[in-house]
């Protein structure tokens, strides 16, 4: 028998709350199974996008295969599938979990269970994964492993007495984790001779090979030349290459069989043909049923993305096209703004996804961008019976044509220590939350359930949550559905000119407050000009708030610097550099970041 036999394979993932040490443990597992020496190892191998490494979060799913020689003398094949660690990417997480047979639950020995711990465990249990816990960071002075073990048993209800107590950072207890992977995670099942049935859990684009599709084989066998069909999209291809995941590289092999995790290529030029969650089958011998759980990914948050320099519009289009190749959940279509010119309305999974894309456009494609306030999708029911999905506030029909509007609402779970229950409930109320329930999961901590309008949380909810709980609250949410709401469009006038890119939709009850804060915020953001600039907020043509930016009275250095012209020029250059990040609207120059001001209105 060898490690390629089905009962020597372990397909698993690691789940954890953010910062509980998921990636560090993954690194240690890869390292101690000898795939890489620690010298070769750059910290956190699996998170290989620069951005991911900086932010310490996983954005795309990754996978790696390692060989482990267990204490029973046998070699085992471990497929470790890393899952995205953010609520924006819940669907991707669920597909990655579906590719696994078990999961390691990492819990911080000091912090214990957090909101994402629970959300991830429930998600894993929903997918029938066998979950075993690991207590990490036992080397911390504040570690309380016994308490955390009890908490896991009480709250989640899984056996935790023999949970390995480890420090992934210092390499303590890793062997025990590996042994438990062998013992506690079941080997895959599935018939290699049955018709091909494989789950797509991710894909990336390679300019030579086309899409590299990450799959978990449930049944059947795939090899070079196998004719295949994607069951949801209907696209057919012929397999060019199959292989498995080395550390940061793709290693071709002869075939992949039921139970294995690997990849294939098939000269797929269009990534929308490789939807995450779709089932791959053989086109000459198809399986009868696709795998369950496939969903078309829907964008939750939209915003306008414009090049700071209008001439860069084609560059932005090319960059979005390229990003889209690796990120099927990114949507975009051209739009025009009176204020900002030609750009794109882009759809994202959530605010983090938006920020990541924005940063990648700026960093990897060297683009200078102006992004408008994010918006959710509102359903506008018109009096003529038509229903519009509104993604851009500017397109809101005239109020006389609107019967009523609906907004998306989420079910949110917030875990918070007792002391901060009050402030957090207050925050949820302010954000138009509807209280659902509260339960104490142990004496000092409560799990709050609220229903919240999505447009109240896409902005700064997470920051507000952190600041009002001194960082102790954790948060998770799921889209619940649409509900009727009284919504209005808040327009902003700068120097008496309406700036369409600053408009946003708000609940009528909060319009005045938001308008006032928006004016204050813009007053801070827009530098003084040679003339006075009024900033006004209006709803339906009626001014509801106003601020005034006083005129600049002087901007001159009456000093000569003893002939040091170079220094003088540097000062002027700095001044000019500041100007570059401005957008000219009429006679007023507005800094690019002002267009995102609406995100920072929670001042208090």
């Amino acid at each position: 028998m060898s490690y390629t036999d089905q009962d020597r394979i372990r397909n698993f993932c690691i789940i954890a709350h953010i910062d509980h040490g998921k990636s560090t443990l993954a690194d240690r597992i890869i390292e101690s199974t000898g795939l890489l020496t620690s010298r070769e190892m750059q910290a956190q191998v699996l998170d290989n996008m620069d951005l991911e490494r900086e932010r310490g979060i996983t954005i795309k799913a990754q996978a790696v295969r390692t060989i482990y020689k267990a204490k029973d003398g046998n070699e085992y094949c471990f497929n470790l599938i890393d899952t995205p660690g953010h609520v924006d990417f819940n669907y991707e997480v669920s597909r990655s979990l579906a590719a696994c047979d078990g999961a390691i639950l990492v819990v911080d020995a000091a912090q214990g269970i957090e909101a994402q711990t629970l959300a991830n465990v429930y998600l894993a249990l929903d997918h029938d994964l066998d979950v075993f816990p690991v207590i990490n960071k036992i080397d911390l002075p504040s570690a309380e492993p016994d308490r955390v073990v009890a908490e896991i048993e009480d709250v989640i209800g899984i056996e935790a007495q023999d949970a390995p107590r480890i420090s992934a950072k210092n390499g303590i207890g890793i062997d025990e984790v590996l042994e438990q992977v062998v013992k506690k995670i079941p080997a895959p099942t599935g018939d290699p001779d049955a018709p091909l049935r494989a789950l797509i859990f991710d894909s990336i684009y390679d300019s030579y090979k086309g899409a590299i599709v990450f799959i978990r084989l449930m049944d059947g066998t795939i090899k070079k030349g196998t004719p295949i069909r994607m069951m949801a999209t209907g696209a057919s291809f012929e397999t060019v290459e199959v292989g498995y995941f080395g550390a940061g590289q793709f290693i071709p092999c002869d075939e992949l069989r039921a139970g294995m995790v690997g990849y294939f290529t098939a000269s797929i030029k269009n990534v929308s043909d490789t939807a995450v969650g779709d089932t791959v089958t053989g086109s000459d011998r198809p399986c009868s049923e696709p795998l369950p759980g496939y969903k078309k990914v829907l964008s939750m948050v939209y915003c306008g993305v414009y090049p700071a320099d209008g001439a860069k519009y084609p560059d932005l289009r090319d960059a979005l096209e390229k990003l889209k190749l690796n990120d099927a959940s990114l949507n975009y279509e051209p739009e025009t703004s009176v204020a900002l010119g030609f750009g794109f309305r882009c759809g994202f999974l959530g605010l983090l996804h938006l920020e990541v894309i924005q940063e990648r456009l700026e960093r990897e494609y060297n683009l200078d961008l102006v992004t408008t306030a994010p918006s959710v999708i509102y359903k506008v029911h018109k009096t003529n019976g038509e229903v519009i999905d509104l993604t851009n506030p500017t397109n809101l029909p005239d109020p006389s044509e609107i019967d009523y509007m609906e907004e998306p609402v989420v079910s949110a779970e917030i875990m918070v220590t007792k002391d901060f229950v009050g402030p957090i409930m207050e925050l949820c109320q302010e954000r138009r939350g509807r209280y659902v329930s509260m339960e104490y999961i142990e004496q000092s901590r409560a799990l709050l359930k609220y229903e919240l309008p999505l447009n109240e949380i896409i902005y700064d909810f997470f920051d507000a949550l952190k600041s009002r709980s001194r960082g102790y609250a954790s948060f998770d949410y799921d889209l619940k559905g649409y509900e009727r709401a009284t919504l209005v469009r808040l327009d902003i006038l700068v120097n008496h000119e309406e700036v369409d890119a600053l408009s946003f939709i708000v609940h009528s009850d909060t319009a005045y407050e938001r308008g006032r804060r928006m004016c204050e915020k813009l007053k801070e953001e827009i530098p003084r000009h040679l003339f006075e600039i009024p900033i006004q907020a209006a709803v339906g043509g009626k001014i509801i708030a106003r601020e005034t930016i006083k005129a600049l009275r002087k901007d001159v250095l009456a000093k000569c610097y003893g002939g040091d012209i170079t220094r003088k020029k540097k000062l002027l250059e700095k001044q000019k550099e500041g100007k570059k990040r401005m957008r000219q609207i009429g006679s007023v120059e507005i800094p690019q970041k002002a267009f995102m001001s609406v995100l920072k209105l929670d001042g208090e």
Partner: protein, 382 residues
């Protein structure tokens, strides 16, 4: 080739509270060593900066600081003799200026300086109000200044500049008027009026940033002080020929004007800047390095060779400091391309904003443009 010479003397009696110039008190030994190093630099300047001494026609020499007047006249003599040896002979028409502090400007000293061929004095008054002088940390009082000024005339100086400052903490129009009245009484030939700039690293920075900023005049007040200076001095017959400079007819500073017109100049001494062969040099500001290697290239800290673009930018942001502004025909003569072709769009925008005027051959700042000089200048960066 016309050439200006700047000589930096980094010594003073005591550092003023607002001063961020390269200057500090020093003992006799250090001063002597420094002058020796300066002499070596003058000797080696041809090789150090790649300049042909024989081709140079010296239009001006400026000995600044610091307080060069606190250096013994013997040293000043040595420096001027060395310059004369290499770049001389100098004529009456060569403007030779030295900066002095009223506290070290007694008659014998001034006579001595005059005998060396120095024909222009620049005296730092800053304010005629005793409280303001103390606030600034000046080492002289009003009377010392008056005495110094009178001695200077007696010593034969017929071209005297006086520095004053506006935007001082708590300064009012009335206080400024006291200073302006003293100027009216003494009638210097040239007046430089600088706005106080709070520079990082000075005691003033700690005193007048953050909470302390409230003690400074507001922008409106500062501008009104500036225009008060302009109106008073032009009323007295001074020409406002540069943002901060005023002169009786014919007494415009040749040396400063050469900066704004981009005439080449040698910068000698610790931390001094120069412009030679369209390269901007800056000497090291480290005294030990300077003393060791003043005559060698290794004592140059920065050398920036100017591109055509750099030169155009400089022509604009330096030229516009002068009220006569920039001549479009000289621009064309210098660059072989018209100013409108390069800056057409900006010229129109700034003119529409009322910040510049274009009259026949000249582009110049309007009064309003003077208030927003930096904004205008930054617009000419390419």
């Amino acid at each position: 080739m016309p050439l200006g010479i700047y000589v930096h003397i980094p010594f003073c009696v005591r550092k003023c509270l607002y001063c961020d110039f390269l200057s500090f008190p020093a003992g006799e030994e250090e001063k002597s060593a420094y002058v020796e190093a300066l002499l070596r630099e003058i000797d080696g300047a041809a090789a150090k900066f790649g300049i042909e001494a024989g081709d140079a026609q010296i239009g001006s020499i400026y000995i600044g600081g610091g307080t060069p007047g606190c250096l013994d006249t013997v040293y000043i003599n040595k420096i001027l003799c060395k310059l004369d040896e290499i770049y001389g002979p100098f004529s009456e028409a060569t403007e030779i200026t030295i900066e002095i502090n009223p506290a070290v400007g007694e008659l014998t000293k001034l006579k001595g300086l005059s005998e060396l061929g120095i024909n222009r004095l620049s005296i730092g008054l800053q304010s005629a109000n005793e409280d303001e002088l103390r606030l600034l940390g000046r080492i002289h009082d009003r009377e010392a200044f008056k005495a110094c000024f009178e001695s200077a005339r007696e010593a034969g100086f017929s071209n005297i500049n006086v520095d004053i400052m506006t935007a001082l903490p708590g300064q009012t129009g009335e206080k400024l008027n006291t200073t302006l009245c003293l100027l009216k009484e003494l009638s210097p030939d040239h007046i430089s009026a600088y706005s106080l700039i709070i520079e990082e690293g000075t005691p003033f920075y700690d005193m007048y940033t953050g909470e302390g900023e409230k003690l400074l005049p507001s922008e409106e007040e500062e501008r009104s002080l500036y225009w008060q200076v302009r109106d008073t001095l032009t009323g007295l017959g001074y020409g406002h020929y540069e943002i901060s400079n005023f002169a009786k007819p014919g007494f415009e500073s040749r040396h400063n004007t050469s900066y704004w017109k981009r005439i080449p100049y040698l910068g000698l001494g610790l931390g001094a800047s120069g412009l030679i062969n369209e390269t901007r040099y800056k000497n090291t500001d480290d005294m030990r390095t300077y003393l060791r290697a003043s005559g060698e290239r290794s004592s140059i800290a920065e050398a920036l060779s100017l591109s055509g673009k750099d030169r155009m930018e400089e022509t604009m942001f330096l030229g516009l400091r002068m009220r006569e502004g920039v001549s479009m025909s000289s621009f064309y003569a210098d660059f072989g391309v018209s100013l409108r072709e390069i800056y057409g769009e900006e010229l129109e925008r700034l003119r529409a904003q009322g910040l510049i005027s274009i009259l026949k051959d000249r582009v110049f700042l309007t009064d309003k443009g003077t208030d927003y000089g930096n904004y205008v200048f930054s617009r000419f960066l390419l």
